[in-house]
């Protein structure tokens, strides 16, 4: 049974593509055959984050239009077994993603893959709606910052009303919260919303907390999903998130600062 998972947020720049690459890679590493699909038509970037930008020949819209078949468009990842990438088109035609076309591609992917990860574009326009429409499950990526949290709540509203499951009156799709760019230091100083704050406002289950980390930029510079950087804090946090997604219980790491002694507290700042 194949599962379609949308990685969404509403707001841009919070780490959807980084998360899509990391989660898809993590699932493939666990032996699940996984396809990661870029829905950001016109602003393709998943290929860069996955490091396969020079191997793109055909794209999602080519497949929808019948210019290429799915097998021609899917890029097999060179680092990770079981992992395939379907790049977005660079067309400026906003209507390129038709509902029928997206459904046909997802149906065909479902025959072959255990997980289909849909990397949503920012916003609540067609691309984002199409990425979410057929999903069985959602991961909502949120920064601990007011506009991101508000947009995530808006997106949760859309997930519960504008998806196929909602329209067919089925149970609402499960949504998991993934907080990125978290700084335990700043939370302790009262400068940043805490994990508990964000969770209390959005009231959905917590999949993971990814700390603000130099490793994320390093990984995107290199075109390598950060989850492959096993030494890094962000890489480990993503591995934990993947394990939780697969049903394992793991304690959250990187959400508290190293406890300082009395001197550390007196002379902080």
């Amino acid at each position: 049974m194949s599962r379609i998972v949308v990685i969404t947020s509403g707001k841009g720049g919070v780490g959807k593509t980084t998360t899509s690459a990391a989660i898809a890679t993590g699932l493939a590493q666990e032996g699940h055959k996984t396809a990661v699909v870029d829905f950001d038509v016109g602003l393709r970037n998943l290929d860069l984050i996955m490091g396969c930008e020079r191997r793109v020949v055909y794209d999602f819209v080519n497949v929808i239009n019948g210019d290429a078949n799915l097998r021609q468009a899917l890029i097999k990842d060179k680092r990770t077994e079981n992992l395939y990438i379907l790049p977005a088109s660079q067309t400026r035609d906003k209507d390129a993603l038709t509902q029928e076309g997206v459904q046909a591609v997802l149906d065909e992917l479902s025959k072959e893959f255990d997980y289909i990860i849909c990397d949503s574009p920012a916003g609540i326009e067609r691309g984002a709606l199409m990425a979410a429409y057929f999903a069985d499950e959602a991961i909502v990526v949120t920064n601990p910052e007011v506009s991101s949290v508000r947009d995530s709540d808006r997106m949760l509203g859309i997930l519960s009303s504008k998806t196929r499951r909602a329209e067919q009156g089925e149970d609402p799709l499960p949504a998991h919260l993934l907080i990125t760019r978290y700084s335990a230091d700043r939370v302790e100083k009262g400068e940043m919303l805490s994990v508990e704050d964000v969770q209390e406002i959005l009231s959905i289950g917590m999949l993971g907390v990814i700390p603000e980390s130099q490793a994320v930029l390093n990984a995107s510079n290199a075109g390598m999903p950060v989850v492959l950087d096993k030494e890094s804090d962000a890489g480990q946090a993503y591995r934990d998130a993947v394990a939780r997604f697969l049903g394992e219980e793991r304690p959250h790491r990187f959400i508290t600062t190293q406890k300082k002694g009395i001197f550390g507290r007196l002379f902080r700042g």
Partner: protein, 85 residues
């Protein structure tokens, strides 16, 4: 030295706390407007117009909150008239 002074000072309103309170208000409002029936915005506008026939109030004078428990729906309307002159 700043650390010592901070340590003994009473807990202040941190910016994260302000952020949380603002978010709770706006998220609750947006949720009730998207889950509520379509006539809520019109009702809100007309209520405001009726009140303004008698009292001058700002745009945020009427707060509406729709809650449902089981098959019972409660529409809570709060009207703030502002400071006594």
């Amino acid at each position: 030295m700043k650390g010592i002074i901070d340590y003994f000072r009473s807990p202040r309103q941190t910016s994260a706390k302000v952020a949380k309170e603002r978010l709770q208000v706006i998220v609750a409002r947006e949720r009730s407007s998207r889950s509520g029936p379509d006539y809520l915005p019109a009702l809100h506008k007309e209520l405001l117009e009726v009140i303004r026939k008698y009292v001058q109030v700002g745009d945020d004078a009427v707060q509406m909150n729709l809650e449902s428990e089981g098959d019972c729906e409660v529409l809570e309307v709060n009207i703030t008239l502002g400071d006594k002159q």
